[in-house]
Amino acid sequence: MTAGANRVVRGCRIEHVCGNPGLGPAKDHAYGLRIVQTALRALQTPLSGPTLFDPAVEVGGEVVITT
């Protein structure tokens, strides 16, 4: 958030940014899709400075366990 990027989406972990193999195939897929959808939402959002978009909050619905 201090490196100059303005639209930042919270990923899972450095080893698997866009998903979580520990969730099993179906939930992993839903979680990954949520991350990508959040990124697309970020691209459409006007902003004035660095902003964190959290997939658990942004897309709504159940909170995704990310660990």
Binding site: N6, I14, E15, A39, L47, S48
Partner: protein, 360 residues
């Protein structure tokens, strides 16, 4: 037999007791596969602590070493912090030394955390890292940070600077300004007296500047990069998306010889017509994280499968048929800026409307 000289044991000659923090790698526990290792305390010195204690020149000793896995400390922040606090309370050192962390981001953040915990306990602390380590911006006010090289080749000078400042801090001597003591500026100003009044110094600086001579500013402005946010994408259903990853994703066999860290090059690879990335065709070249999981499913660092799904649904108009890859670890900021600009101009030329960059 001669009696010990009277008064020879004044507090100033007492050895400074230091506690040293190292990550799992420098503590000899293991490499990236051990990054989840918990915080552990070992009596005495470990690894680079030996050279550090030698540099104390018998004036100080490392009483204990705290070791922690980079992922553990950054992901289990509260538990790690508590373990560090318990260890520092138990050993009650005169000074805490963390690192050097060089340009390792997670290690730098762990060192900063250790310094913050020490400060909260009223213990002086010092750490060392590369000036561009992201942790410098986060922790520069918590403790003096000695500049170190980007990698461990500069271990010895970093330890020398750490040893000198640690002895000073451990004896409760006050530190002079950053440029005198050799640590990175903290942005703290203290009242002091200069030889000449401000107006004379200011005019002298101006004259030097106008004559093209060197001068040293008294008010350095720390650069904090601000990038103006790009205009949002108006209509995704008419937009082409570009994909970038700094996870070091390359075709199997790494035909372009992308380096595992400190990259100065980026490459583009075709994803035209591919529904997803297969582990049979791609591999990950990156020294900054455990790549085994991505090795089994490269879509975790370039979510082509998911992006295709949204393309088929019509959420997106299309995906640029090339993705861009580099290994984002240990690259100097100036190089990263240049590469970023080059990538952006490729996308601009191709009429890409928005870019998804997966950073590892």
């Amino acid at each position: 037999m001669a009696a010990p000289a009277a008064g020879g044991t004044a507090p100033s000659t007492r050895r400074v007791r230091a506690v040293h923090y190292l990550n799992q790698f420098f503590a000899g526990i293991g490499a990236e596969e051990q990054a989840g290792y918990r915080v552990e305390v070992r009596p005495g010195l470990v690894g680079p602590g030996r050279a550090l204690e030698t540099l104390f020149d018998s004036q100080g000793t490392i009483v204990a070493t705290i070791a922690g896995g980079d992922n553990y400390v950054n992901e289990q922040g509260a538990a790690a912090e508590e373990a560090i606090r318990v260890a520092l309370r138990e050993w009650r050192p005169d000074v805490v030394i963390a690192g050097p962390a060089f340009n390792a981001g997670r290690y730098g953040l762990a060192c900063g955390l250790v310094c913050r915990v020490a400060r909260e306990l009223g213990l002086p602390a010092v750490t060392a890292m590369y000036p561009e380590n992201p942790a410098v911006d986060v922790y520069r006010r918590e403790a003096p940070i000695v500049p170190a090289s980007a990698d461990a080749a500069g271990m010895q000078p970093a330890l020398r600077a750490l040893a000198r400042l640690a002895l000073k801090l451990g004896r409760e001597e006050s530190l002079g300004p950053a440029e005198v003591e050799g640590y990175l500026p903290r942005g703290i100003r203290r009242l002091g007296r200069r030889d000449r009044p401000a107006h004379e110094r200011a005019v002298a600086m101006l004259v030097a500047k106008l004559q093209g001579e060197p001068y040293t500013t008294e008010l350095p402005v720390l650069p904090f990069e601000r990038v103006s946010p790009a205009t949002p994408v108006a209509d995704l259903s008419h937009a082409t998306l570009g994909l970038v990853t700094t996870g070091g994703l390359v075709p199997k066999g790494n035909p372009d010889r992308l380096v595992r860290g400190g990259a100065r090059e980026w490459f583009r690879y075709s994803i035209a017509g591919l529904p997803a990335l297969s582990a049979d065709d791609w591999e990950c070249v990156h020294r900054g994280f455990y790549t085994g999981i991505v090795g089994q499913n490269p879509n975790y660092i370039l979510p082509l499968n998911l992006v295709r799904e949204l393309e088929v649904q019509g959420t997106l108009a299309g995906v640029y048929p090339w993705f861009i890859s580099t290994s984002g670890v240990g690259t100097a900021v100036a190089e990263a800026k240049r590469m970023g600009a080059e990538m952006a101009s490729e996308f601009r030329r191709a009429g890409v409307d928005g870019v998804l960059l997966v950073a590892t």
